[in-house]
Amino acid sequence: MLVSLNWLNDYINVRDYEPDELAEIITKTGIEVESVEPVAEKATGVVVGHVVSCEQHPNADKLSLCQIDVGEGVLQIVCGAPNIAEGQKVAVAAPGAVLPGNFKIKKTKLRGEESNGMVCSLQELGVDEKDVPKEYQDGIYVFPEDVQAGDDAISLLNLDDIIIELGLTPNRADCLSMAGVAYEVAAALGREYELIAEKVEEGSEKAESLVSVEVEDPEANPYYGAFILKDVTVGPSPLWIQNRLTAAGIRPINNVVDITNYVLLEYGQPLHAFDFDRFGSDKVVTRRARDGEKITTLDDQERVLTRDHLVITNGDKAHAIAGVMGGAESEVQEDTNTILLEAAYFNPANVRQSAKDHGLRSEASTRFEKGVDPGRVERAGLRASELLREYAGATVLQGVVSYDQLDRSEKTIDVNTTKINNRLGTEITREEIASILERLQFPYEQSDEDFTISIPTRRGDVERFEDVLEEVARIYGYDNLPYTLPSGASQAGGLSLEQQLKRRVKAYFEGAGLDETITYSLTSEKQSTMLVSKEVAQQAAAPVKLAMPMSEDHSHLRLSVVPELLQSLAYNVARKQHNIAYYELGTVFISEESEVTKQPHEMLRASGALTGEWLSHPWQQEKKSVDFFVVKGIVEGLSDLLDIPMTFEKAKIEGMHPGRTANIMADGKIIGFIGQVHPKLQKEWGLKETYVFDLNAEKLFELYEKEEAFEAIPRFPSVSRDIALVVDEDVSAGDIKETILEAGSPLVKQVLVFDLYQGEHLSAGKKSLAYNLLYLDPERTLKDEEVESAHENILQSVKERHAAELRG
């Protein structure tokens, strides 16, 4: 809401405050002032001039040579505007004047003729192009007849005004009007204000003899008032109305439209003027539109309606979408003679629906949507009638023809001084409360500590004790509230086990050299199904998609964090940062339904993606690129940290390198995958060799067992033995390890691969794997024979199961 201080000052004196000071007070008591700006950049020395004569410049086709009376004398001025003419009253910047942009006006000669100043357009005086009336957009501004030569043009055009912009929250619809703002400022400053009663001189003819009103849906339209105004002369509205509209950011059009807009700004009540002769009947019927019914609105758009939309009809044909926009057919035009003026109360939800469906958010719909003051609907019609009589020559027919089921009753709310203080933590006296209610102009009855308050209809947002509490608190001042701490029983607070584990896992990854990322949960359809771990893919029927996405890039909920990480990697690589190691603890969204009806399962994943060099220490000739085993080491470290055994099984996953990918298993189930991104996909992302991992963190946290008891450090020595085995090259090291552990149980505690060899000393298709085995009995020292026998057993088993030969 743009508030003109000149206008506001007509209602309530605010001149004794600096605009910034006033803004601060308004902000602290209730409504945030977003800006304080002059309506136009400063200009001085501009006066009204009367064009006494206007002739063609002798030496230039497009220039006029004018003699202009500026009150103190007549000046010769050369003017280039196409619309200048003898007899006009115009804005003249005489020599010595300063226009916006610090443009100083001097005496000059143009094509041989002396020019003592400049005739100004509104734009030259600092008016925003969008606020300039159409007829003056390409030329100078012409004042109405009634101004005097020599008058101060800046003040006549209200260009010395200051505009404060209010950032209104949805509850404060009462301040969508100058009257509402005046009530608010009066309360903030502790001053008096009251909206003046309307005085309409009505003619003898009765409105009801010309029109009747019928309402089919009282819930959508509890009040409809029709005023009839005859003998209207459509023309420009008076300057002061134009100025106030301009200050509020509304472009003046003609007196009828301007007056309805003016009352909208003044009272907060939208009105609509129909050309009654073009309305096509003598009855107004408001009803829900029929599905498929059509109307051409003022903006010349044909709109298709549904039962959700309320329309104003002539009993047959729709002439307006209620509260949103009028129809083109009954639009007020230059030749309009009789006006049907509508002042109505439309159901906020209904207007909201119509405005939304038709993409028409207007000054009017905004106010209806938020609820107008039931006490001011009819009054606004009277106010507009009064102005139309005065400024459009209208004859106001007697009475308003109305349908009226509108609830105008004032709510009463009981409050108690102690209760207020208990809730605020204050010690406000009942006298102070009484004085605050008076400032708010909330009538009340008091008995000691108790107040019964009547809430004026303009404050529809005040509905219960807590709302009054807020009114009292804000006028009392939040600055005056003490600082206290909650007095209730204290609780320990803290992190749940899962939250602690999350932090631990993050710290682990960071210690392991990975940077944490946060990526978007909403992704493209394509990316939403890419690089998904098998157990997720099995559970998810389809990725969850948005009903109405804003872009294709963010239309679906992800089933994997990995593609998002790859996107981040690609972003960096494209910017010449080639060595990236990222991880994220992020959610994926799994729905078992192909058409979602229930909330999807939100599963926490721990995912990572690495590319480029892992270690680079050039002067010692050490250099290592990220490879499968770098990433596997990171995952194994996590397995150790959480003490959750994990195994790796070669797997094929779409988008992954078919020979370098594994499922990760824990507790007998797949919990994720690891491997190299498929070279084709790498190329698409512009990535070199890139390795990823993805783990079901939710499952890991479930499997995690907090260490409860201390395990003694073994007191007896362990025995270390090595074996080198020759096997076929497709036998996996992990399988052999499993066999060793099983056959060596319970004495073998640890099995480590320390060598892998393939080459000339072995026959083709064979490889040699060397393991270091650790034998231990925590209860006693092992005897050589025991180890020997266990070792034999192991050799026997690997021979049987993997055809392994001891390497000679």
Partner: protein, 344 residues
């Protein structure tokens, strides 16, 4: 013979002194103390001596032997040390050459901020609660006093999945869910951080996904001054003891009264500058007393219970605290951005 021994001793000590290598020293040892050495020879000739002289000379010979042996030992230790020193000198490194790098990762700036806020409220006895990001219309809106058709739903145009499910637009549903589990009788003291989503086109100041942290305290006799006290403690710890706070009236459907909290501008100290747009204050969070409808819907009797709630955006806090000027930085994951804030 005495003289001969004395002579030998002096001669040997001179040679020890002159030795400049371990080998030379060994030669001296063999020469004088060996079985064929002159001292042994002297001892062999003792037979010719009188009974009285024998022990005297014997003792003297032993003393000479010991003196020489000791001198050799001292000299040897000295020579070994010198040799070691020489060797170590030869092994010296250029300590200014770079070390073998250790990969160090770090947390995302938003995580740092969220955890800092979490820890701060944990210290005040709050618990951390989390909830679903795909939320029901009921918990996201209705349970928070935002019935269907409520104009304030416009403030946060949302991404719907179905008519009843949407990407949560704030973390407040977690409050409604947590309260709902208490049967209207237990106090609640919690904060809930998380991702939220709104229909915004991503630009420097808007992001369709962002982070929020909300706090809630419900108990008997909670006062608005308690809210002010808790927020003040938070602001001073988070932004510095010298910062002041102020509350301004505002509106949220789920609180009444509703306020916005500003902190005094760090840059100008409250005098007004471009950072605070001349006001001296910077908006940090929204807060208020829990709306009675919200308490009622969660099963609490608003006559008996009251509470306060507050909500803030870690992105905004990060932008203010570290001068980050584009919200997209938090989600693009440019390594140069991420690495900058690992100490934050």
């Amino acid at each position: 013979m005495k003289e001969r021994l004395q002579e030998l001793k002096e001669e040997a000590l001179r040679k020890v002194d002159a030795a400049d290598g371990i080998q030379q020293l060994k030669d001296v040892r063999v020469e004088y103390l060996g079985k064929k050495g002159p001292i042994t020879e002297v001892l062999r000739g003792m037979g010719k001596l009188s009974k009285e002289e024998r022990p005297v000379i014997g003792q003297l010979a032993n003393e000479v032997r010991e003196d020489i042996a000791q001198a050799i030992e001292v000299k040897q230790t000295g020579l070994e040390e010198a040799a070691l020193e020489e060797q170590l000198e030869a092994e010296s490194l250029d300590v200014t050459l770079p070390g073998r790098p250790v990969q160090v990762g770090g947390p995302h700036l938003l995580t740092s901020i969220v955890e800092e806020i979490e820890d701060l409220f944990i210290g005040m006895g709050f618990e951390i609660k989390e909830g679903p990001e795909v939320e029901s219309d009921y918990y996201n809106f209705e349970a928070l006093n935002l019935p269907k058709g409520h104009p304030a739903r416009d403030m946060q145009d949302s991404f719907y999945v179905t008519e009843e499910l949407l990407m949560r637009t704030h973390t407040s549903p977690v409050q409604a869910r947590t309260m709902g589990l208490k049967n209207g009788s237990e106090p609640v003291k919690m904060i809930c951080p998380g991702k939220v989503y709104r229909r915004d086109t991503d630009d420097a100041t808007h992001s369709h996904q962002f982070t929020q942290i909300e706090g809630l305290l419900v108990d008997k006799d909670v006062r608005m001054s308690d809210l002010k006290g808790v927020l003040n403690a938070f602001a001073k710890q988070m932004f510095g003891a010298e910062r002041d706070i102020r509350l301004r009236p505002s509106f949220f459907p789920f609180t009444e009264p509703s306020v916005e909290m500003d902190i005094s501008c760090k840059v100008c100290g409250g005098a007004g500058c471009s950072v605070c747009k001349g006001t001296g204050w910077i908006e940090i969070l929204g807060a208020g007393m829990v709306h009675p409808n919200v308490l009622e819907m969660a099963g609490y009797d608003p006559k008996e219970y009251s509470g306060f709630a507050f909500g803030m955006g870690p992105e905004r806090i990060a932008m203010l605290k570290y001068g980050v000027d584009d919200i997209r930085n938090f989600y693009i994951n440019d390594q140069r951005f991420l690495k900058q804030y690992h100490k934050a």
